[in-house]
Amino acid sequence: MMKYCYTPRAAIYIAALVVLLFLPQLLSPYHLMLMESGLSLAIMALGLNLLLRYTGVLSFGHGAYFAAGAYAVGLLYMYLPDKFTFENAILAAILASAALSALFGFVCVRHTRIFFSILTLALSMLLFAVLEKAYHYTGGSDGIRVPIPLFFGYEFEGMRRFQFLIGPYYYVVVGIFAAATVTMLAIVNSPFGKALQGTRDNELRAEMIGIRVKRYRWYAFVISGTFCGLSGGVWSFVNGHITPEISNWVFSGEIVYMVLLGGFMIFEGPIIGALLFTYLRLYAVAITEYWMLILGATLIFLVLVLPGGVMGGLHSLFSRLKLKRVS
C-alpha cells in the first residue's frame, strides 16, 4: 500500500488538498461559495466520466440522478423535518440516486451509442416532467427550499446561511469531494475499472473472456448515478433551493460540457472542467446579458479546436515540449 503514496500523482493531490484547505484565507466569500458549487459539481463530472471515458457511453440525462440526490434532501426536509440532519440527508441522496440509476440504468445499458444517449435523455425528462407536474408533492416549478441542517447533532444556531457556507460547510464539501475523487480513482484502476475499459474497447472480446458486459455496464451506471446523487445532495445545501430544472436535459448537457471542457481523456479533467465551467459561466453572466453566446462559442471552439479539453491541451503541450528537449 505504501508505495502508492509516493507517486507524483499522490504528491499533486496532497498539494491540491492543502491549497483547497487554505482557500478560505485567500478567496473572497463570494468566490469561496462559487468554489463550493464547483467542487460539488466536480463530483458529478467525475461520475459522468466513469461512463463516458471508462465505459464508452454518453449519457445526456445525468441531471436525473443529480436531481434524485437533491430532491432526496429537499423532500426529507419537507416530509420528515425532525430527521433533517446532514448525515441523513446525504444518505438519502445516495440511496435515492442509487435506486433511480439502478432502475433507469437497467433499461439504458441494453443500448449503446446514440440510442443510449437518447434513452438517458428521455428518462431524465420523464423525471423532470414528474417533478414539475407533481406540484403538491414536489413544489412543482417553484422547487423546494433547503435550509441549514443539523450536523451529527450539532446545530448551527443563529448562524446565517452565508456564514455557514463560507465557514464550516466549505470544509465539509472539500472533505466529501476529496473522498469522492480518491474513490473514483481507485475504481478506475481496479480490476473492475479495467474490465469496464475492456468492454469499452471491445465488447465481443470482453464477453469472450467471461466479462458480463451488460451487467458491468449497469454497475458502472449505478456508481456513476450515485456520484451524481451525492453531488446533488452536497450542492443542494450550497444552493439553498432546488427546482426541477436540474433534471432538464439542458442541465445534463452542461454536465457533458464541463467534462469536455476539462478533458475527458484525463482522470482529473472533469474536476478542472467543473471548476472552470462554474467560473466561466459566472464571468459570462457578469459581463454580458448574452452569456449563452459566450458559452456556446466556447463550446464550439472546444469541439473544433481543443477536443481534448483544457487538460488534454496542456498534456499534449507538455509532451511536445518534452519531445523537443529530447531531440
Binding site: 463516458l52 440510442f115 444517449s117 420523464l126 436535459w249 457533458v256 448574452y290 449563452m292 458559452l295 469541439v303
Partner: protein
Amino acid sequence: MVLIYALNGLYFSAFLFLTSLGLSIILGVMGILNLAHGSLYAIGGFVGAFLIGMMTQSPVPVMLFVAVLGAVAAAGAVGFILEITLIKHMYRRALEYQLLITFGILMLIEDSIKLVFGGESRYASAPFDAMGSVDIMGHTYSTYFLLVMAAALAAGILIWWVMTKTRLGIMLRAIEMDREMAQAMGIPMRSLTIVAFVMGSAFAGLAGVLVVPTTPAVMGMGMDPLIMAFIVVVIGGLGSLRGALLGSIIVGLTRSFTVAYFAELEMPLLFLIAVVILIIRPEGLFGQK
C-alpha cells in the same frame, strides 16, 4: 367534445409532424441528432412574428404567405450557414462531439435571437383573429387550426413525393440506408447532406412560423417542441417518414386527450410511451436497424 379533442389532437400532430420531420431527416441522412433543431423552430417563429407585425394592413393571405416564405427562408439560410461552417466538420467525429456542437449552436442561436429581436415576446395573432371560426357539427372551431392541418398535410405529401418520386429523394434515401454504399455509387454526398440539413431546418422554421398566430414568440420557445419532436422520432423510428407521421398522431392525440382529462399526466405519459417503445423496439415503430 370528443370531436374537438380529436381535432385539437390532430392540430398538435400537425406541428409535431412538421418539427419532427426536419429532425428525422437530419438524423436519418446525416446521423446527427440536432439539439439546435428547436432553435431553428424559434427562428421561424420570431421572423414570422416580425413579418406579420410589419404588415398589419395587408390582407391575411398575403401576410401569411410573406411570413411563411420569410421564416422558411431564414431558418433554411441559418441551416445552410451552420452546415457549411460547423456541421460539416462533424460527420467523422465521435458522438459526444456531434451532440455537443449542436448544443453549442443552440446556445448561440438562442442568444442571437435575443440580440436581433430583443428579449420581449412578440404577438402576431392577426391572421388567427381575421380567419375566425367555422362550425363543425355544432362546435365552433378556429379556421386557422384547420389551415395548419392542411399545411402539414401538404408538406407531408410534398416530402413524400420528393422522397419517393424524385432523383434527389432516392439518393437521400440511399444515404440513409447505407452511407458507404451510397458513396461508392458516386452519390454526391457533400451537396446532398447540405440539402438535407437545409430542408430539415426549413421545416423547423415552417413549424415555428405557423405557431406564432396562436401563441406569441418568446425566448426559449423551441425547447418544448424539440423535446416533443424527439419523442415523436423515438416512437416513429429514426429517419422514417411514416414513423414521423404516425408518431406525431400518437403523441398529438395522447397529448390532447390527457390535457383534457388528466392535465397533470400529459408530459410524464408521453415520456413513458417513448421510453417503453425505446425499450421494446429501440429502432422505433418504423425505423430500420
